[in-house]
Symmetry: none
Subunit: 236 residues, 4 copies
DNA sequence: GATGAATGAGTGTTCATTCAT
DNA sequence: AATGAATGAACACTCATTCAT
């Protein structure tokens, strides 16, 4: 499990635990091992390059080169560049996303803490990983690959919204929160999450002079505001 | 209405002449008029197409065709397709953005209302216009055009943040708001604005089944939550 | 009109009157003239190369080069290499074929002479031109382009069979020929025509030591045999 | 049955061992047998596929797959795809062709009958077998494999012409036929044979609506016409 | 100034061939 | 001997850009 005490502020974080290479079980023929590792290596390389340079600006040969293979090998494992893109999304986004939010099922403390803790977990496990760059990529390329955007909405966004909705509902049920419009409130949180990922991979890298944007701090302050409101004497 | 007074702290702005909006002063010979209108017509066509299909998916010949001229003419006015992109963004971002926020200088009512009214104005004049698409375009292409992203940050985002900051500060000064961290609170509002534009031009068009996303309603509910908080008995 | 007294025996005849360039009517802009000439020049180049080397062995850049243009220009006029192939067939085979057999409508002499004269005309105008190579090409590539083969059958072969059929029928009607099965007899002539074209563009170029194959002589002897039979005392 | 006595005036024949047809003599170990059978199995698979789809449209992996081996094995036995092609043709052309015409050496009946009977035998044993497809293949690929075409001419066509020539000469010698130009008359028959094979493997599969072409019937009618002529009162 | 024919560098993809296992 | 993962040369096709008219 990845656990990071301090907030990670720097950009260009490529901390992707290579999910494909385990601690080398029984000794297999070298060639064999590569065959199984290849798709993962290629997807990893593609993820990095797509996030770094964008989909169409990345030549398929570059992906192959970064994975340490030749152009032809790429097409041995993926029917086309677009297919590779799809598989990157599938493998990285969805898989990673599923890892989020399991432990909240039997959370005991106050919902406010649950919300903070959930967001922090999301940031550490998803937002602050290449998957965050992927999200920006999906949004950027949505014109060219609408099915992928739709897939993202269904497989990533919707589950996230559901989870957040359950948390908010819990707060209402336990009398901690006011009986607000849950779906709308969920969107207020989602918007901050999407914004953080978008911002981090577009504006932030271009304005080094203004590098004071701290995503996790922003998220926490955001939740704070949502919880306590701006008004000095909140309305009845 | 184009008014240029404050804000513009730009760097290396090449073509700031908003050839498209000025009310065409003295009557000139037809040919002459076309000649001067050309760049603006091309920029308009490019804006539309870039927003519709993305930068790289738009062929320069399409831009020319939509502007009613031939491929060659495009390169008479712009050195390259990238240059055209830069000019589109520069011209339009500033144009559109300046239209926002002048009338708030001497707003009289409560700050809560000022905030709502300001966001509504923004939505109507910017978010819900091609400029919204522009923003998404800038973010999407920030890898390929980092100077543009930086320019956007300096010329568009920063003024917006300043304006919002002044509004929030006014609320605090008048005792309406709690003495929160203004820059952070500003970001909570900005994030919703950016999110709305991003979402609207990427996910929404790809998921017609889930077309229930109402940007203005979201913005208003968002402000509502920020103002009143989620908690039933807000903290001291 | 092309008229050759002696039989043309040599291979590699590329006598294709450029059907595209007429005696330069009114003076047109250079560029303009090229634009109209280009498709014809490209088709001519493609015809030559396809016949020389086969369809798939011919790179599209070679076609362009022989036409004196660059690769890109080829695709300005033809959507794909396959399309170019189709247009070569359409332009050259069908057009040329239509030129055959008009004057036989009111032929006066004996049918035997009509048949010889018709075959000789066919040889001079079609068989002994690049169109002959085209026929071999169509047959060779029929696996890869079945629609083209079907088109050839309908637009070239069938009309030819019809024409030959009318000639034979005339002979029967005038009592010159025995009342044979006309379609079958037609095929006996067609087979010789097809054979001549096939042979000339496949075996003959590969066996220079055996270059004694004279297509026109063969055709004439073939007709002779068909007319008079092999038997010394022909059957009743 | 494979008999090698006459005819073979070949040049540079590399692999003449007909590994495919010989009735597998003494029982060998399984592994051994496979090893010797491999080339033949590959040639058989290649023959089928080349005839079905053409040479360049057949991927070498398909050949291997149909032969039940892997891609690499193919190149264990044949230096290249072209080499495989050469071996396919060499092996099969000779094999098939030699099967024709031995029994005519001491034919007793009238020459007319001999001719018909010979053609029928040819059709059944060669024309109407994969060898027919082979012929079309040789002609189609003659540009890329001129030595093969030459080999075909020398080893297949010439023996066939010789045989037909002997038959016709017999007819003349016995007073059954007129003293015609034997080589030319032979070509009239050969042309029909070649045409039949070419047509059958190119045009016919592409025009199912016109599937009425009966090769054997055509051949017989063709001989009929050649024997009896078209004219009602044959020449003096 | 305007045109649009022409260019050619660039890229995704295929497939015969090699070679480590 | 057999495999099949890997290679990389080859090629069709695109499109931003140029320039003769």
């Amino acid at each position: 499990m990845v656990r990071r005490t301090a907030y990670i502020t720097n950009q260009s974080v490529i901390n992707m635990s290579d999910a494909t290479l385990s601690p080398e079980p029984p000794p297999v023929a070298r060639r064999e091992r590569r065959k199984e590792a290849r798709p993962g290596e290629l997807i990893q390389a593609a993820l990095e390059l797509f996030v770094e340079k964008g989909f169409s600006a990345t030549r398929s040969e570059e992906v192959a080169a970064r994975a340490g293979v030749s152009k032809g090998t790429l097409f041995l494992y993926f029917q086309s560049k677009e297919d590779l893109f799809r598989d990157v999304i599938r493998t990285r986004l969805v898989d990673h996303f599923l890892a989020w939010g399991q432990e909240f099922e039997d959370f005991q403390g106050p919902t406010e803490e649950m919300l903070r803790s959930g967001l922090q977990a999301w940031w550490e496990r998803i937002g602050n990983t290449p998957a965050g760059g992927l999200t920006k990529l999906v949004l950027s390329e949505s014109h060219n690959f609408p099915e992928i955007a739709a897939y993202y909405q269904v497989s990533v966004v919707q589950p996230g919204r559901d989870l957040l909705g359950r948390i908010l509902q819990r707060g209402i049920d336990r009398g901690e929160f006011r009986p607000i419009d849950v779906p709308q409130a969920v969107m207020s949180i989602v918007s901050a999450m999407v914004f953080v990922m978008t911002w981090r991979h577009s504006i932030v890298p271009c304005t080094p002079q203004d590098a004071s944007f701290d995503p996790l701090a922003f998220l926490m302050t955001h939740v704070d505001l949502l919880l306590h409101g701006l008004l000095s004497s909140p309305s009845a």
